[in-house]
């Protein structure tokens, strides 16, 4: 994976809570067997509505999606962060996230950043009032910065290290091969295993 150190750019404000993965990418687009090409299907049904905020010309090309609480609740589909990435976003900021979505985002190289409700509100208002406003998310310093503000965010230290260094998680786990084999030799023998 490519290292992710810093994301900077304009914001797109999605002032809605509980945005579920069915909205982020509806089921009919989960039939593809590729890992890329999901951008046109992001928020597919909402984008059919002309007044949907992400359709506005001033938010085209934004790098950061700013949304309400519990963003990405629902299913385990990694197609959700794939669609967000393929549509050009590099980060999502929200007060909270669905667990699986957040994990999937990091694997996709999308920064899912939690900030307190009041700070997210500030960013949504800022993006709505001044769509040209630019922010920078600095993963190393764990800061979201803009003109006149610096917000600190917390992130799992292991996730941070993987992102900063572009580490291959499978490779990291494979370093424990001896411990895995050792564990396997001690598993209880009645546990189900299927001979094919």
């Amino acid at each position: 994976m490519e290292p992710v150190v810093r994301v900077s750019g304009r914001m797109a404000p999605l002032d809605r809570a509980d945005v579920d993965t069915d909205q982020i990418i509806p089921k009919q687009f989960l039939k593809r067997i590729e890992r890329t090409g999901y951008g046109p299907f992001l928020f597919y049904d909402w984008r059919r509505q002309p007044d949907f905020v992400l359709n506005r010309p001033e938010h085209q090309g934004a790098a950061v999606l700013v949304a309400g609480a519990n963003f990405g609740c629902g299913s385990s589909r990694e197609h959700a962060p794939w669609a967000i990435r393929d549509a050009g976003f590099r980060a999502v900021i929200a007060p909270s996230f669905g667990d699986i979505f957040r994990a999937n985002s990091f694997k996709t190289g999308i920064l899912a950043v939690s900030l307190p409700e009041s700070q997210v509100r500030h960013l949504i208002d800022l993006a709505s009032e001044d769509p040209t406003a630019v922010i920078e998310i600095d993963l190393e310093a764990q800061q979201v910065r803009g003109e006149g503000f610096v917000y600190r965010f917390e992130i799992d230290p292991f996730v941070r290290e993987c992102l900063l260094n572009g580490l291959d998680e499978i490779g990291l786990v494979e370093r424990h091969a001896a411990a895995i084999s050792d564990y396997e030799s001690k598993r209880m023998d009645w546990l189900p295993a299927i001979k094919s």
């Binding site: 890992r35 519990n70 385990s76 589909r77 694997k107 396997e184 023998d189 009645w190």
Partner: protein, 463 residues
């Protein structure tokens, strides 16, 4: 010094740590006993393995089925080219890696979370993962079971392990006898209505109390299945005689002396008396009623005797517009077009029996189109052996083959825009059952009652 008292979740966790994470950085590395695979979230994972020259480490601990895309009528051929391709790719991947596959049209095919328990693959004490958020279903057996994304599917295929951070322990204590007409689904909906759709985020949940002990395995699976709908990482129930009786003599259950050894171990799993939880939620089962959702997330829910509430947020207002409902409307006055009885939440044999009891001798309302989709081919056969298919068909229900079907509408079973459906599935998200479709989540008896009367209705009026 006596050992530290531990919760069920802590015991499951501790017994699967391959390598303990170092203090600040790497999480614990957990071993996975069973990896369930289906056609939608796995193709990119297998592709990733191929591109890096890796193989599946333990095909013998991996089981695949076709469920999300499968047609529920007209034989085994998928309706569209992409669905067909996705199923072909799964078959090729399983063939190449030696992974057992329950193909469309085979005897044991069905929804991944229904066939695992049926086959006896789901047992107490295990760690089970699947690229599907409703993997929490398997927690009903006293297993640690949770959904993962496609990158994690690839990781588990390659290493049979998953790095995981420890989470908080949350107890949900449900006590008292469930009133007539109130089911495990109503416990779940009532709970989500109270704590909200993110009330469980960051926690491993244990469902406890006399009500949970009295539930059948089917009921416990329904309850654990919905854990993700309030954000919990996993939901589980301590194993007991009900669990053991369900598992015993299933195809992959231990036998003979292994069964006795397994029982001894499983009896050591329940939470120790002095163990403590980070959070506790108490629910009085005697005060529950049949629930029905009015909005576009499972937390937007009221008793069937209630009314559409006044909106308390923008989310509520948007949901009300989408659902075309007005505050103050009695839930029982809402007419429906479709009924769906199915999904990994409510398509086991007990669910079909509960619905059939309401339907027996009655007929589906002329304005309603109603569908029963058994959760697995095994459930379908069992129901047909009992004559339940005849009850449904005589009443005017369509009797289909096993799959996820209209729970998420990846196959041709979808709602038309504006259609309103009483559904036994787990998500009432916008467009979930078809773009523009409107979903009201209910229990199987409530869905059956709605099919008969043509509107949402308190099933207790039909007893």
């Amino acid at each position: 010094m006596p050992p530290m008292p531990r919760t069920l979740a802590q015991k499951l966790w501790d017994s699967h740590v391959v390598e303990t994470g170092d203090a600040g950085n790497e999480p614990d590395l957990l071993y996975v006993d069973l990896h369930l695979v289906h056609e939608v979230t796995s193709p990119q994972a297998f592709e990733g393995l191929r591109m890096t020259g890796r193989r599946v480490r333990r095909p013998d601990l991996t089981v695949a089925t076709m469920d999300h895309n499968v047609p529920t009528r007209g034989g085994a051929r998928a309706a569209d080219e992409l669905s067909r391709k996705q199923m072909e790719v799964l078959a090729e991947n399983c063939e190449r890696e030696g992974i057992p596959l329950h193909q469309i049209g085979s005897r044991r095919q069905g929804i991944v979370h229904i066939i695992g328990p049926e086959l006896g693959l789901t047992q107490p004490g295990m760690v089970i993962v699947c690229g599907d958020s409703h993997t929490s279903t398997h927690g009903a057996f006293g297993a640690l079971a949770f959904g993962i994304g496609t990158s994690e599917v690839e990781l588990v295929l390659a290493t049979q392990c998953l790095p995981q951070r420890r989470l908080g322990d949350l107890a949900v204590d449900v006590d008292g006898e469930l009133p007539i007409g109130v089911t495990a689904k109503d416990i779940a909906l009532g709970l989500i209505g109270r704590v909200g759709t993110s009330g469980g985020v960051g926690h491993l949940v244990e469902y406890r109390g006399s009500t949970v002990r009295a539930l059948s395995m089917e009921g416990r699976m329904t309850l654990c299945n919905m854990s993700i709908e309030w954000g919990a990482k996993a939901g589980m129930v301590a194993p007991d005689d009900t669990t053991f009786k369900y598992v015993e003599r299933r195809p992959h259950a231990p036998r003979g002396s292994a069964w006795e050894a397994a029982l001894d171990y499983w009896r050591s799993l329940p939470t120790d008396v002095d163990a403590t939880f980070d959070r506790e939620i108490e629910l009085d089962a005697t005060r529950l009623s049949p629930f029905v959702t009015w909005g576009t997330n499972p937390g937007q829910v009221v008793p069937i005797t209630g009314r559409v509430p006044s909106p308390a947020s923008d989310t509520d207002e948007r949901a009300m517009r989408y659902m075309d409902l007005r505050p103050g409307t009695a839930m029982a006055d809402i007419a429906i077009d479709r009924v769906f009885i199915g999904s990994c939440t409510n398509a086991r044999i007990e669910d079909l029996r509960a619905a059939a009891r309401i339907i027996h001798g009655r007929h589906v309302h002329p304005k309603v189109r109603a569908l029963v989709v058994p959760g697995s081919t095994t459930v379908k056969r069992a129901a047909e052996d009992e004559g339940l298919d005849l009850v449904f068909k005589a009443a005017g229900f369509e009797w289909r083959s096993a799959g996820c079907s209209m729970c998420l509408g990846m196959n041709p079973d979808i709602l038309a825009p504006g259609e309103r459906c009483a559904s036994t599935s787990n998500r009432n998200f916008e467009g979930r059952q078809g773009a523009g479709g409107r979903t009201h989540l209910v229990s199987p008896p409530m869905a059956a009652a709605a099919a008969i009367t043509g509107h949402l209705v308190d099933v207790r009026e039909l007893f």
